[in-house]
Symmetry: C2
Subunit: 239 residues, 2 copies
DNA sequence: CGTTCGATTGATGTCAGTCAACCCGAGTGG
DNA sequence: CCACTCGGGTTGACTGACATCAATCGAACG
């Protein structure tokens, strides 16, 4: 009874935390939040588990409570094109709120992940009741569009070192911890994952990272960690 | 007095048309629409004229009434990365509704273009009054995200013929006219434009189009028109 | 200690970018 | 009316960078 044992520390208060953590519910007061919390269904996924299949049905708004996931599609060549890394507080499935349609990408847990789900029809009722949530969603979608546009600009450039640098900077922003020597990054993706994120071969990622290390711009610690020693240099690379 | 002469046929009824044409105002009734129309400022741009500068201020929602524009950013290599072709009924500047920030791309008129503008602060008031507009915006933004995700998937593939094919199919969907031999497309972009759209060299676009013509899949008529003879073949190319 | 999976490094081939020449049609001006 | 020019498009030759294939390494884990 893993589910049960988990639920020992998954009290109502935890649920609230989940809802509170999400930007789109920020403006709600405690009562309203309680209302939201009642609609939430929680589910746990283990590393490598598929959460959503492209072309599968998806009729809920999915909010990451803990852990992280990757959203990806298959390219022609049979590789994955990773579109998003979603972490705590991020959500997906918003496309299916208004129109019932198939999911437009696969979603897979990168580690043990807790998902809070709200059925689309419930969520729509929420929106009717609290219109300010809509504005929050517009805001979040705008940010996502920003990111996608940035990503396209990146993939448009032929300069592969720039793409690798951009990814490092993105991860630094999202996962970086300031340290004396520089910013320490716990990489959410393997080399292959990074490759699939920026659309190159995994060997190329290896090579580019090695070069950056030789140049003294980064320092790799094992496979999963990187320290950015010279952030300026990376930024110059990107622009 | 170009402005004045233009306004001869730019009556209130025209304004309404402009508003009515836009998906986000679809649900409004006549009275509500009249309210919206009062807020609209119109402006005309000639071919090649810049409408918005990246890093410039943009404090209005911009709706295309007539004509079409390209939205683009500069890549590292000094080329343009075209992000969108906006046509009648499309809008941009929605990112600046909630947060005042700089525009994130240049926008340039591809032909003589009429723009309807609504100041962000006015538009926000509208949203408060007619919350259903928010939902429409969420819907539109979702579509845009779909397109961007599609585009990224496309740019992730190394197969350039697939990219060219995808663009042709996209244009066919948007601008295509059914004919006996196939779908006739009036290209909105030059070869260089197409190249900047899919992130390749302009010569490469030329070459790929020539190949597609040799294979009997398309038929080029001058530089500005293409007939798709074998749509299936293009679709196979893409997937 | 061995196995396995991911990462690295090296060698080779391929394909798109680049440079350059040329073409073509639309203006333009004599 | 024709010659010239100019911008965009096409075509060819060459080059270089990345993909691919293959071998090896190395760390994690049983």
């Amino acid at each position: 009874m893993k589910q049960a044992s988990h639920c020992d520390n998954c009290t109502l208060c935890q649920h609230k935390l989940c809802a509170r953590r999400v930007p789109i519910f920020q403006e709600l007061n405690q009562d309203e939040l309680n209302h939201v919390v009642q609609l939430i269904i929680r589910k746990k996924y283990s590393k490598g588990e598929m959460i959503v299949f492209e072309d599968g049905l998806l009729d809920s708004l999915m909010i990451i409570n803990r852990g992280q996931v990757k959203a990806f599609r298959d390219t022609q060549e049979g590789k994955e094109q990773i579109l998003y890394i979603f972490s705590e507080g991020d959500f997906f499935g918003e496309k299916n709120l208004l129109i019932t349609q198939k999911a437009s990408y696969h979603v897979e847990a990168l580690e043990e992940t807790l998902i809070c789900m709200i059925q689309s029809r419930d969520f729509l009722k929420l929106l009717k009741e609290y219109p300010e949530i809509s504005l929050k969603i517009v805001e979040q979608l705008s940010h996502r569009i920003d990111r996608l546009e940035q990503m396209i600009r990146n993939m448009g450039t032929k300069n592969i070192e720039a793409r690798v640098s951009a990814v490092l900077l993105e991860f630094a922003m999202k996962y970086g911890k300031e340290q004396s020597e520089g910013v320490l990054i716990e990489l959410p993706l393997s080399r292959e994952g990074i490759a699939n994120y920026i659309g190159v071969a995994r060997e190329t990622v290896s090579r580019k990272l090695s070069i950056l290390q030789e140049e003294g711009i980064i320092n790799m610690i094992g496979n999963k960690k990187v320290v950015i020693l010279d952030k300026k240099a990376l930024e110059n690379e990107v622009e």
